[in-house]
Each structure stands twice: as C-alpha cells, then as structure tokens.
Symmetry: C2
DNA sequence: TATTGTTATACTCTATAACTATA
DNA sequence: TATAGTTATAGAGTATAACAATA
C-alpha cells in the first residue's frame, strides 16, 4: 500500500550511504585505522573524554568489542584510560596528545580529501540538504529508540 | 578556507547514515544475516545473477573476502555458483529459490519495519530528499572513480 | 602476460555470556 | 541486586599476497 511511497528514498539513502562509505572508508584505511577505530577517535575528539558506556553507544560498538578496540588504540598510543573520580567501576577514555593531533589532522585531511567533490555544490543546496538530513535523522533516531527489534544493542 | 562551507553537511551526512545503519542493521541481524551477506543477497536479488568481480564491486567486498561470504551463503542454501558459459575462468552466482524467497521477504519486511518511521514524511519532502541524495551520490561516485586514495580496492 | 576466482595468513570486529569489582 | 568494564569464546569480515586455471 504505502510501500511505494518511500521506497525510492530508502534505496537512494542506502545507495548514497554506500558510496559515501566507500570514499570515506578508503581514506580512513589509508590512515592506518579501521572504521571502528576511526569512530572512536572521532567521538573522543569531538568531546573531551567519556566513559566506555557512552563511548560504545556513540560509536555503535558493544562493550565487549569496545575493550578490544580500545586496547589496540591504547597500544598505538592514541587513547588513554583513566580512573573515574566519582565511580570506581567506571573509566574515562580520552585522547592522548598524539591522538588529539591525529584527530585534528584527520579532520582536516578528510575535509581536504572530500573537498573536490563537495566543491561543486552551491550554498543553497548544502543548506537545504543539511536541514533535510537532520530532520530525517531525528525521525530515524526517534524510531530507533521506540522500536528496537530486540533488547540487546546491535548494529 | 572553504572547509566551513560543507562541514555541517558532512557531519550530518555521517550522523544520519550512522542512525540509518543502526536501524537497518538491527533488522538485518535479526534475520540471521550479516551486513555483508545482506549486501550480497540484495545485489543478487536486484539483478539476475552476476560474476564474482561485479558482485564484489557492487557489494563493496574484495574478491578474497567474497569467496568466504559466498561459501557461507551457499552453505545456508541461499546462493548457488554456476559455471559461466562464455568464460571458463568466471563463475555466475545467483540466488536459489530459497534465496529469492528470502530476498522478497526481506524487502517487504524491511520496508514494513521502517514504515512507521517514514510515515511521518510528506510526499514533497520525500521527493526533494530523494532527488538531492541522488545528486549527491552522483558527485560522490564521480569523485570515487576519479581520485582513489590508492590503487587497491578498499572500503 | 593478464584476468578470474580460490587459498593461505594474520588481524580486527562482532555478539554473547560469564566474570570482577564496585555500587 | 544492579551496573561498569573485562575476559573468554567462537564466528565472521577484512586486506593482502600467492596461486591455479583459463584467456
């Protein structure tokens, strides 16, 4: 019945996403990071450290998996684990100076890398597209919270 | 310089896609498939069989990895490998009747699952958003072909 | 020589469940 | 009892390089 109404949007969303990921993923790998590691670095770079629970939720990584990802990033000297002052069960993860430096470098390189592509878009398009994406995300996010398929957190 | 111009779009694009993936990925897992397996099933369902090279390119999976993914799908009885009539090095992969049935079931369920979310969008929004995504994808795709980071195919 | 797909290798991600130490 | 993070386990994806069969 109402299927057909948004099927093209869904298909295009997935297709566009896939292309973006191809482009973006190539660059991430060339920097020596996995997508998950990149997600963690980005999450930490945009905030000023967070505990594992919040970090996992933000980067879409379950807690068991996150431990391994953090181990590897710590081994590379990019992140650091510190005791939380309030709760002795909790741990605060934050970027080391090297991690922060990589984050800023990544951001700038990532933008530069995509620059030539996005150059072709005019301001009006960019503005309207951004607004629409934000609206769409809001709806998706609301839906994600309201109707999970199962109780456990999974991608 | 021109960084700031499209930074919000980039951020929103990544954020929106991440949310979409969370929602979509949950459903895929609940069907007993991995994301890669889902990509393969989808690619095969939308066409009528293809060789490994094209399939890998479409699903963003390198050839070495694809062999393993196909093995598992074949083991589940969802896909089948057949000799290519023209080129004896090549192989045609296609869905089995069970695979095809799963594909149609998935498509319909996937749409039904996302229905409540997309219900809230009006026709004008859907149309404009679809057009913009297609335009953006075209640009990204062109960029992906023109300026790869390295020669090897990677996500 | 080049291409198609497989094999081999080593690493990372993944979910899940059991575990510890705190609360 | 509940929560935060780790550990253990088994499976899947990942890139890469070497390989066999065919072109």
């Amino acid at each position: 019945m109402s299927k057909q109404r948004f099927t093209p949007l869904l298909r295009e969303l997935a297709h566009c996403f896939q292309t973006f990921e191809l482009l973006s993923g190539r660059h991430i790998r060339s920097l020596g990071l996995t997508p998950s590691q990149f997600d963690v670095i980005t999450a930490l770079g945009e905030t000023n450290g967070m505990n594992c629970g919040d970090l996992g939720e933000r980067a879409l990584i379950t807690k068991g998996t996150l431990t391994g990802v953090l181990d590897r990033l710590e081994q590379k000297g990019l992140v650091q684990r510190e005791e939380s002052p309030g709760d002795r069960r909790s741990i605060i993860v934050h970027l080391t100076p090297e991690g922060l430096s990589l984050f800023t470098q990544i951001s700038s390189q990532h933008l530069k890398y995509l620059n030539t592509a996005f150059n072709k878009l005019d301001d009006e398009f960019i503005g309207s597209m951004t607004t629409q994406l934000a609206l769409l995300r809001g709806i998706l996010q609301q839906h994600a919270e309201i109707s999970p398929v199962n109780t456990t957190f999974s991608r």
